[in-house]
Symmetry: C3
Subunit: 138 residues, 3 copies
């Protein structure tokens, strides 16, 4: 058994979900594993990870709208020094994922037909987000 | 060190939580690991995973009721072509887990006394859901 | 490749977030891995895990307040035999994490600058919570 690591940079353009499944798949196919497990880790507390449907873009709009409704910007937060979008960003990160674990089967991630890997940006300004990939297997 | 993989099928009967801890434990004991880490991965975006209390069934009813309240069916979603239960299913999946990582200690999953592994079905119709298991260890 | 395991005890003092990043880092540095992946697993259904900002303590207060608002104690839950804080504790656990997977890069967890690992206690009474650590790598 062996292991590999890589850090991806994902550019965001304000709040919303950005799919980066293909970037992960490209790196993985270079590394040449047949069986194993992939860890995807987001190094931020105001952006997070999500596996979601990648067929209909309206799903992403509804998801974004849901999280804006449940953790709104205009609320008397104690933590408000980094702008009105910062504390909701932490809450939205807490409700979604910082890490994902995805089995590798027959040389590919075992994602279902409609599953894509998304970076969920929770801040209003554009950012470059770091996502660490780790795989262990054969 | 070595690794094993298996895909479980979990039959659901409409919305609700279905425990499948015993199916995982049975496969794991056949594979004969003493120490390691198990990954449980759900290949769907309208069903998800949860580790929850398996002592009192009313906990499962309250959990189901909570997610119906927080992500209701009757809401003006943009994504409504697959029925009123589809977009809430994606939201409820986003709020729970697609993957779980469980250490194996002394040949067994390190679950606490009351912890069970559940498939959370978010669609109204019955489905057969695929859950991929991966273990690496000794 | 090799693996190691350890169980940490985290003492809580009623509801709130307790950082234990340093306890994990101390154990990890003793084990001497350069590259690998760490699994952090909470053996409870009324306490959970979260990676969050560890710079401004007001973030933790806002997070606690958010979860009290979204899953309140005073609600007609079916499961009420273990006290008014028990069912909200299960819901808050379902919304956060039972397991985390963190890559190890250059001998350290690949946490971002502001990321800390927290045990989120959801019960009113103090508890001692068990967190299982597992690492596989070189």
């Amino acid at each position: 058994m062996r292991q590999s690591q890589h850090t991806l940079s994902v550019r965001t353009n304000g709040k919303g979900l950005i799919e980066f499944t293909d970037d992960v798949a490209r790196w993985l196919s270079q590394e040449g594993y047949t069986v194993g497990v992939l860890t995807v880790f987001c190094r931020h507390t105001s952006a997070s990870l999500l596996i979601q449907e990648n067929a209909d873009p309206s799903v992403l709009r509804d998801l974004k709208e849901f999280f804006e409704r449940i953790a709104p910007e205009y609320h008397p937060y104690a933590h408000d020094t980094e702008g009105p979008d910062d504390m909701p960003a932490h809450i939205r990160s807490a409700l979604t994922q910082t890490s994902l674990s995805i089995p590798i089967v027959s040389g590919k991630m075992a994602l279902g037909t409609w599953q894509g890997i998304y970076l969920f940006e929770h801040r209003s300004a554009p950012h470059v987000r770091q996502v660490v990939l780790h795989v262990v297997g054969d």
